[in-house]
Symmetry: C3
Subunit: 334 residues, 3 copies
Amino acid sequence: QSSVTLFGIVDTNFTYIDNANTAGDNKYGLGTSGNATSRLGFRGVEDLGGGLKAGFWLEGEIFGDDGNAAGFNFKRRSTLSLMGGFGEVRLGRDLVPSYTKVSSYDVFGQVGIGQFMGWSTWGQSTSTPDANGYRQDNMLAYYTPNFGGFTAGLGYGFDEKASGHDGRYMGGFAAYDNGPLSVTVALDRRDIGYNVAPLVYDGKKDMLSIGASYDVGMAKISALAQQSRFKDVPASSDRKVNSYMIGAAAPVGAGQVRLQYALYDQKAIDSKAHQLSLGYVHNLSKRTALYGTVAHMKNKDASNLALAAKGLSTTGAGAGESQTGVQLGIRHSF
Amino acid sequence: QSSVTLFGIVDTNFTYIDNANTAGDNKYGLGTSGNATSRLGFRGVEDLGGGLKAGFWLEGEIFGDDGNAAGFNFKRRSTLSLMGGFGEVRLGRDLVPSYTKVSSYDVFGQVGIGQFMGWSTWGQSTSTPDANGYRQDNMLAYYTPNFGGFTAGLGYGFDEKASGHDGRYMGGFAAYDNGPLSVTVALDRRDIGYNVAPLVYDGKKDMLSIGASYDVGMAKISALAQQSRFKDVPASSDRKVNSYMIGAAAPVGAGQVRLQYALYDQKAIDSKAHQLSLGYVHNLSKRTALYGTVAHMKNKDASNLALAAKGLSTTGAGAGESQTGVQLGIRHSF
Amino acid sequence: QSSVTLFGIVDTNFTYIDNANTAGDNKYGLGTSGNATSRLGFRGVEDLGGGLKAGFWLEGEIFGDDGNAAGFNFKRRSTLSLMGGFGEVRLGRDLVPSYTKVSSYDVFGQVGIGQFMGWSTWGQSTSTPDANGYRQDNMLAYYTPNFGGFTAGLGYGFDEKASGHDGRYMGGFAAYDNGPLSVTVALDRRDIGYNVAPLVYDGKKDMLSIGASYDVGMAKISALAQQSRFKDVPASSDRKVNSYMIGAAAPVGAGQVRLQYALYDQKAIDSKAHQLSLGYVHNLSKRTALYGTVAHMKNKDASNLALAAKGLSTTGAGAGESQTGVQLGIRHSF
């Protein structure tokens, strides 16, 4: 039917990680989604007349290394939208408004070993669905139209609990894009209570992210600053993680060079980690690219953060132990 | 390839249910399939010449609220058909013949909180696959052509057991459609034995459904009467549930108003439940509609039936406690 | 999008198997994939210029009898390819090179009750992922271009283990096709270690397969000889299974008659099994066919091999007991 667009990406790579576990073993093999997240989706937009449009979007992740051994679903995005001069109202499961825009300042696009990892769950001892801050079930979101460069979005994810609010999301962002400049502020709160005795608590995770980029012509400079605060969660005191990132992407012929530094200041364990990422993407066409990334995670003190090597199931090295990784891959869109 | 039609529906809503559990808590959030069941499918028909056609149909349910967190499959329909002047022979998993036609008299189309619930499993203490009477694995079905308004269908679902017949289905329907009048009689038997010691029995569930509708021009009046009988099942004596429904749907401008009353007479527990549903569907286009439904389930004595709020995981209120629900949603077809 | 081809097959049949278990019960019902494996897939090729092409292939199995009750995935094939004058480099999950070409000599196409079963796992006491030798996760494969009838392929499937090599695959094939003649030699090794105490070992499974076919005009004669060797696995001594097959396929009007004999010489239990298969495929069109297969598995001594009746979940009969099966089905491609 002409009303449906079938689309997707397959991104598969060779990945090597040293110190892939606390025993210090290396690991290598085929990984997935090093330059863009592999996906398969169906989407469409219908013009209802009078400036009103309806749209649907169903998108699921593809794991090219094991053929989606855990099954295929549409957890990346399953939404219905009504769009018009008023903006867009969106219903369903989706990336949260406080993530979509501000995460775009990550020079590595939130994929692969080079990515900025401030949205990871490692700052948290127990997790609830989607506590990583990327996506949310049962969400009602609103996105404004573009007012001379200003855009904003708000979302509310229903907890659907008979009592308590575990799993609820509230958040939003405001952004300004004008020529070479882009700035975004995003804020959200998640109820991350836990309810399996004897561990019962009613916690919160608050996140503030500020990002900006400036295109100086020969390169685009990007930066992110982020604070995750956990309230009323067990184990030690309330926790806080401050994350910072600065990076640059420069076009070089048919490709792009990427360089990024990130700092993860884990207040609860009074430990820092430094991540340095260097990458090159070579476009074979608009749809297909080869890429290579080298990343180093320097863990200090009690920190044991791991590089994000999807499809290789690595964990953090021992406390204070560092990790280096290499990814060489192909990304193909359709 | 031109031989495949990709089709689907996404229907997502806001649902509120009071007395959503025995504690009397309310529940609200994003639900799915309030006006039509959300789905994604692939189907096609090939003309083999000589009046013979072959067709396939693969269709799975979509959960727009959580992105099919439990995975995507084709359990709505996975069939191969041979069609010709003789009618249609259909192989695979599908809605059973004793459900497809007769369930169409439900003014609320067997979805959402307003739907007639005679096919639900609440009349039964233990369940086997598809014991709700909707669908059947491993089914061989035959549908006649239309003979001057008369149609009929028969199905046999293999149990595929080495011993016993748990899971077997036998059923069919006969219908007459002529101008404003439509009448259907459907009958089926399921082997619902249970084989996990110490609970071992070899039960049956028989279901007789009679439905009719008459289009009086300004509205279409529909009615259903149904008896579910359980034989040789444990706990108390053999059970029986008699369900009745009467409703009307009237076109109003670009929309349709729906009103329906249902009575569930649960003989085994000597208790009745009354359900009253009122709905309005507003078509924004042929493909897209907004809808609103209000429904009330009045449980008497030991009855504790729940409104069908898909995606909100409610249960019945306490015995004799009633439940009221509201659904406001969008349905978009592609 | 024009860059994607949606394709598939639905093949559903009626299957009857006698002695379907050790108790000697019969079993019958709806099965799947008797003449071709039911599947749904998405694939595409992009011309990158300069003789270089990129391609993707995502394909999952369809179970028309139960609607993919266990969920849909892309475990049949999930690959990215770069193709050119040098041949093809393929990344992802796929059939292994030592299986694809040489298995084509099976007259019954590695599906249904008639198929040659040398690649089954019955020769092995404990299994690791994909130990049957068909497919492999995390594989890097290379296929040569066709050099005057000569082709070859090599594959390496990463184990992705921090220690040990359980799950690793290494293998390849070389083939020669010229007019009526086709010959293939294939060899592989799998690391099938097992690591759950107290059963810990570091085994290997080596497989050598030699196949050939000759088209004599009125029929095509095919033969296969295969040896599976297990090394360093527990229970009795190292095991060996020698399998042999000879068959013929002859066009008859719009159809094809197939006849095949296979011998499974299970050295470890010093027992043989003989399999005789007779089938007829009647093409209703290029896309649709009816088929019928009769197969008999004669188990001798301790052998208890079962016919492959997918969708009917049969097991081997008792030791030395034989099994006879019938399949009648439809295969429809799209």
